[in-house]
């Protein structure tokens, strides 16, 4: 057939680079990679100081459950004020 069955497709080769134990900070331009310790319920981004609640899909696979509301709300309000001052 027209397709080389032995050659890995782009998606297949990218699958090989998956990591389960880390996730990226939810602050878009921050790009911090966060790696909570097994069982941790909170994580703080060392780059932008946002804090998140952590849930575990399986013992080696964490995900962000949601923000720590009080912390991230304060950061957001301060950022909003600053951006509006500049407008």
């Amino acid at each position: 057939m027209a397709v080389d069955t032995n050659k890995l497709s782009s998606a297949e080769s990218l699958s090989k680079t998956r990591t389960y134990g880390k996730f990226r900070c939810h602050n878009p331009t921050c790009m911090g990679r966060l790696e909570p310790k097994p069982g941790d319920k909170h994580v703080k981004c060392p780059v932008c100081t946002c804090e998140f609640r952590v849930a575990w899909i399986r013992p080696d696979f964490p995900r962000i459950r949601g923000p720590v509301w009080e912390v991230n709300k304060k950061l957001a309000d301060a950022a909003f004020k600053k951006k509006m001052e500049g407008k």
Binding site: A11, Y20, M31, F52, A76, F80, K83
Partner: protein
Amino acid sequence: MALDRKIAYIDLATGEIEVKPIPLDVRRKFLGGRGLDAYLLLNHSKKGCDPLGPDNPLIVSGGILTATCASATARTHVMAKSPLTGLLGSCNMGGFFAPEMAWAGFHHLVIKGKAEKPSYIYIHNGEIQIRDAKDIWGKTTTDAQWAIRDELNDQEVKSLVIGPAGENLVVFANVMTGIKNAGGRTGMGAVMGSKNLKAIACRGTMDIKIAHPVEALEYNKHFIDQITSAKVNKTQGTLGTPFIWGATNSWGGVRTRNFQYNQCEYADDIEPEAIDEICEDTMGPYHMSGCFGCQVHCRAQYRIPSGPLKGKYDEGPEYTSQGAFGGETDTPRAETVLVGNHLVNQYGMDNLETGSLISWAMELYEKGILTSKDTDGLDLKFGNDEAVLEMIERICFRKGKVADALANGGIPASKTFGKNSFDYLIQVKGMSNLHSDERATPGLALNIATSSRGSDHLRSRPAIDLYHLPEKVLKKIYSSPIPYDGPLSSEHTEYIGKAWQVFWQENCYMGVDCLGICKYHTTFLGATLPNFEDWPKVLYYNTGLEFTPEELWDIAERCNMVERLFNLREGLTRDDLEKGDMINHRYFDEPTRRGAPDVVGTTIDREKFSKMIDEFYEHKGLDQKGKPTTKTLKRLGLANEPSHML
């Protein structure tokens, strides 16, 4: 053979039925599923036809791979001119219907005319009957399906049905199959209702011959592994799609209070883990189920845990119901979301359109454009859980002035409500957004602006843009199968390269919709899922047809252009807020107030947005007005449409 499945033309007015094979040259141009449906719609509808009139053809299909050994070929597609938008109507659902239709001998149905009385179509191993539906009319979506099984004395029958919303011509009524599989956008259920067609029931035991069965099964093992090992699908299999809403809400990408906020604060009660707990408490540990041939199992089962409907069984809720009845209306309570989800499933009504229109009406109420006199005393304020549930009921049964107007869709309702109500309506081409807020994501804003069926996340959304993938990963994905050496950015707040990503995704989603495979099995939510480079193998082993990845890309591009030709014929323009590739002024004028620090204070830049549209048009081979050039039509083999090959 998958390729010997047929097309049936059914005239409900005369009872005439014609069955034809689908020629190979048609397959090579449009494959099947949504792509071939678009071709059929363009060829079998007349310009300006009434979406709720007998001349609007209703087209139902499975993909070219439906019910083969390929994984998750569960999707059913329905197409017609939309009574909601007046443009392309299209919806796609999971479940078990399309495979049953394929086993009954058919891949495509073209249903014309209007039955004299309530009817349903029954297809059984190549035979088609039009039957009386008088005992089924008026039933909810699930009751109707069980009644059809009883009447036919066959518990294996799978049906596509409408509920009361479709019968009442609510212009965003769903077509449903099973408990929660919803063809839920653009009002295809109303088109069925307008034809007096309550259901299409199928039962089939006709074999589908696989071209290379050993290789097909062997490759599918590998395919399944690639799909189930993806992080996104591991999450889906544990929490279902609610994880999408939860993650998006976390950084500030969901609409709240219509469009006033971009995050629903303290929504812990409807976070995916909280909903999962309810599913586990009410249905036990094995509460995730799946569609035909799928190993991801993203669909939760639950019973309503409390309140007047306590104990009622349902499935989901999808992230769309979390957004529609939790976030948008600022009622982030699990019971409201679960009951709202149950009601729209039973009535057969689009959760997204329903929630969006209710939250729009709530903002109008807050602003005094609607008053309690208009709502017959209902306190339609944000945060009022009872008002949300009451409005679902009222819209379905068209009770009262406000609900009746909303049942006609947002744009007509804005004309009824008057004042500046239209300014607050978050829609594109007459269809409401998903619950998402795209002010901080220009690529996603471009996606909703240009999607063929109106504001929509399932036609071209570059969702992986939200993962901040390194540029070299983006390059790898977006430079194949067609080379692309333009810029790409890891930041979802950027404008660079987003037009190409939207164009690429548009073709990717069309590809998967032609194959009949679920979108969670391609580059939608996960960067490592199969796409053009992987599909030729699945196609070859199952059908014997050989395609290169580039050829599949061309087919997808062609099918998308057919959808655009239909829309242009029906009045699509570039900038018109009612029928154009344009988003509401609030995206440009009102900065986001909540979310991550980099998200707050963001608007879409009008000039950059317009430039993205230019670029997108250029990638598609359109002129500045959004019309395909002669050269493009020639390149795609569409210079002579409608060509009536089928």
